[in-house]
């Protein structure tokens, strides 16, 4: 899958455990505060049947975020998991201002392989922690929100549950980010609700939501949920806490 962030405005950062990510050069950022957003999308073999609709949902969600009144204060990172037929995550693009993101240019999803859910969560939360810490050190106000969208349970990760839990705890300690929300979204995964809810609890994520079957209508609602949640969390920046307006259902 081609990377959409190969330019001089981005630099590479390390999380740990051989995980890294890219983000806009901090010296080039001009606003006073940012909400860091990561959307991690499952592209394991089992999403093959609705990969076009899933991509469209992602495009719609990002497009809606671009229209948010807070769009100048949002930096978005999009990853897919697993890396092609393997473990780990593939960065579609690192943290970028929404004005630099063209969701229509997002490539088709290359599906295949297992579901490295811990890798996806570790990368999503760890990158927000790491980048957020550097932004905060440079006087920026920062909070975060991560969506991990999956149709299956953990099965092929290199990252451990403890690594995910440690990053999740760090993210809500208040020492790095003003607030953090992590949402695990199950799509076409109703049969796994108990397993994914247990994963959420053990990983220390904020919320698990069952988005239902992978129908165009449900995927459109998922896109709406993502963009509304991003906007709401961004509006909470400066209040000292997380948004209290994240929907409990899709």
């Amino acid at each position: 899958m081609p990377r959409l962030n190969d330019n001089d405005d981005l630099q590479t950062f390390q999380i740990g455990g051989n995980f890294n990510f890219q983000g806009a050069r901090i010296a080039n950022l001009g606003a006073t505060e940012y909400t860091l957003v990561t959307i991690a999308v499952d592209v394991s073999g089992s999403v093959a049947g609705f990969k076009k609709e899933l991509r469209q949902s992602l495009v719609t969600a990002v497009d809606a975020c671009r229209k948010s009144p807070r769009s100048d204060n949002i930096l978005l990172r999009v990853v897919t998991f697993p890396k092609f037929m393997n473990t780990g995550v593939e960065e579609m693009h690192g943290f970028k201002p929404l004005s630099d993101v063209d969701p229509a240019a997002y490539p088709d999803l290359n599906v295949g392989g297992g579901t490295p859910l811990c890798d996806a969560c570790y990368s999503a939360i760890g990158a927000i922690n790491s980048y957020g810490e550097q932004l905060s050190d440079q006087d920026f106000g920062v909070n975060g929100i991560a969506f991990i969208i999956t149709d299956g349970g953990e099965n092929t990760s290199k990252a451990t549950m403890k690594m995910v839990r440690d990053e999740a705890q760090r993210s809500v300690s208040g020492e790095i980010l003003e607030s953090m929300i992590t949402v695990l979204v199950g799509i076409n995964a109703s049969a796994l609700n108990k397993e994914l809810e247990r994963f959420r609890r053990e990983a220390g994520l904020t919320q698990y939501i069952d988005a239902g079957d992978a129908t165009p209508k449900k995927l459109a609602k998922l896109a709406d949920f993502v963009s509304q949640s991003v906007s709401s969390q961004s509006q909470a920046l400066g209040t000292g806490g997380p948004s209290r307006n994240i929907a409990a259902v899709i």
């Binding site: 010296a27 080039n28 950022l29 006073t32 440079q138």
Partner: protein
């Protein structure tokens, strides 16, 4: 050619929040022609709707500086200050007429600065602090004040040419009443007193002018900063320390003054150090590379 950038910040103080009164400080900044400019104004708390006066003065001053920078006629020393002063006077009269404002509404200080590759200037009418952060890390700062916290306001000139203010100050135009206290902070040595000047009443009413040349811009100056007297009224923090803290910029892009000021105030508040009065700052940056 040297590149310039600018940003500004202002916020309400605790005393105004407690009393339900508006923020009477205001600031503006920007780039124009070959350089950049910064303006701030502090409305008199015992005046009328001086939040309006502070804004009128700031916008009128900014417009005059921008026009001069675009014409290439700035910095021009006392002549430039007089030109801006005329623009302020006209704007005050016009704003009073258009918006039915009372003369008391227009009582506000005005501090402004501009910088171009040819040099720049700082002009202070009223009270507050001007500071220069140098490339070697030193910070030169001047604090201006008037007896009994009764500063000169440009609106006095629009009212009666300043006659009533001069009379209230004793009427002797040569009397040394406008005080300038100079300090320099050297990272390895701390604060060093650099002298005090007692400017005459006439000089104070015309405003203090500090000029700096092309060589200073090219080799010496990183930032030129203006602060309202709110910087002198932060609980548990001296004005000189406050200036240093507010000038400790981490990055220089975009809202660099707002980021630094908001973080400094938030960190200070966690230690019980809150701005009692409104505070405003406006800063011009000189890029390190041509």
């Amino acid at each position: 050619m040297k590149q310039f950038f600018a940003d500004h910040y202002f916020r309400i103080g605790q005393a105004h929040i407690a009393n339900g009164t508006p923020c009477q400080d205001f600031a503006l900044s920007g780039r124009a022609g070959p350089g950049a400019w910064a303006v701030l104004s502090d409305g008199c708390s015992s005046g009328g709707h001086t939040d309006m006066g502070a804004r009128v003065l700031s916008f009128a001053t900014a417009a005059a500086i921008r026009a001069a920078l675009e014409e290439g006629t700035f910095p021009a020393g006392r002549g430039g200050a007089d030109r801006v002063g005329q623009a302020q006077k006209a704007a005050i009269s016009e704003a009073q007429r258009v918006h039915s404002l009372d003369p008391q509404d227009m009582l506000a200080t005005c501090l402004w600065a501009c910088a171009t590759p040819l040099g720049g200037m700082v002009h202070v009418r009223g009270d507050g602090v001007a500071a220069w952060l140098l490339r070697d890390g030193r910070v030169a700062m001047s604090r201006y004040d008037w007896p009994d916290n009764r500063p000169f306001y440009p609106a006095y000139e629009a009212q009666d040419g300043g006659a009533a203010f001069a009379a209230a100050q004793g009427g002797d135009m040569a009397a040394p009443v406008f005080r300038e206290e100079r300090w320099i902070h050297v990272p390895s040595l701390g604060f060093l007193e650099a002298g005090t000047s007692e400017h005459s009443l006439a000089e104070g009413m015309a405003g203090a002018v500090s000029l700096f040349g092309a060589a200073h811009v090219a080799d010496e100056i990183s930032f030129i900063a203006l602060f309202s007297d709110g910087v002198e009224q932060i609980d548990g923090l001296g004005w000189k320390e406050a200036v240093l803290e507010l000038l400790a910029f981490k990055t220089e892009k975009g809202a660099f003054v707002k980021r630094r000021a908001m973080r400094a105030i938030r960190d200070g508040a966690s230690k019980g150090r809150r701005p009692v009065d409104d505070i405003a700052c406006a800063v011009i940056g000189v890029a390190a590379e041509d």
